[in-house]
Amino acid sequence: MTRTRVLVADPLGIFRAGVYNLLSRESDFAVVEAVDFDRVQSLVETQCPDIALIDLDLPPGGGVAALQWLHEHCNTRTIAWSFDPAQDVVLAAVRAGASGYLRKDISPDGLVRALRGLVAGQAPLSHDIATLMIDAIHQHRDRERTEDRLSALSSRECEVLEQVAGGALNRQIASELTISEFTVKRHIQNILGKLGVRSRREAAEFYRAAMSQLASIGDPS
């Protein structure tokens, strides 16, 4: 029987030992351990593991770098794991090539199931992380819509909208941008039409929400 070779890369000995002891009771797994990225590299030089379980705090450069390196050097299927997964970290791990993401408080049975599932071609994700991923996809789509609406505005219209969102009156905007009030009004009419909103208050709310949305989400590329 061919055993699935599992690399456990984790700086914390108690996790390496926990996984080792757990999988030692299963006949279909063989475990190798790495305390840091250097050890991962030296183990991979000898033989690529079938599966790598990578802690996201793996020294010295973090688990995402290790995931990326493994993705480039092996056909190893990788799972990232950590204590408290944040959305941006989960996305970074997946972008770096991780096939799944698990919390470190996973049950022993759950971990064995996840590893066997990965061998069978599944992508192990706990329910809360799957929700996190779906939220991220929705946020990404919302961000694209927002960017599309903003890109319809000219640079001058964006300047005017920024002023409107800041609560400036037409007279103040005209003074700030050195244009006439008549021109400000025309810009605002164009902004309302392009954004599909009915009032300058709605336009201001859209702009503030858009800036907040774009600032809160990392670069999706």
Binding site: P11, L12, G13, I14, F15, A17, G18, V19, N21, L22, F83, K104, D105, I106, S107, P108, L111
Partner: protein, 124 residues
Amino acid sequence: MKGTIRRRSPLVAVLYTVPLVCEAITSALDGIADVRAFPAKRMDSLGLLSSIQPDAVVVDDPIEAAEVRSWANSQDTPLVHICLRQRTIKVLRNGDWEESAGASVESIRNVVAGSMYARGGVPS
């Protein structure tokens, strides 16, 4: 056998939030103590500990550690807190936490066994 005094193995209670910790500790204390694991944060840990009267307690959660601290101190029972995120272990000695070297399986085994021996809890 007549004249032979049989003593039970020391009992180590593990109150865990991370099940893989139990996997590691059970193996590390194999031949040293019986390990019984209980999920933490399930209410009335003190009642549980009072019932089973362990020779040492290991916890992996700071809230649970704080809750068990006064009981362990009053019972003179060794208490070890594995701080997973900080990668350290703390041992309750004379009512105060003392930080010990890294959270390796060996250091946890040594601290637990050492604490029980110091208390006279490990049978010959």
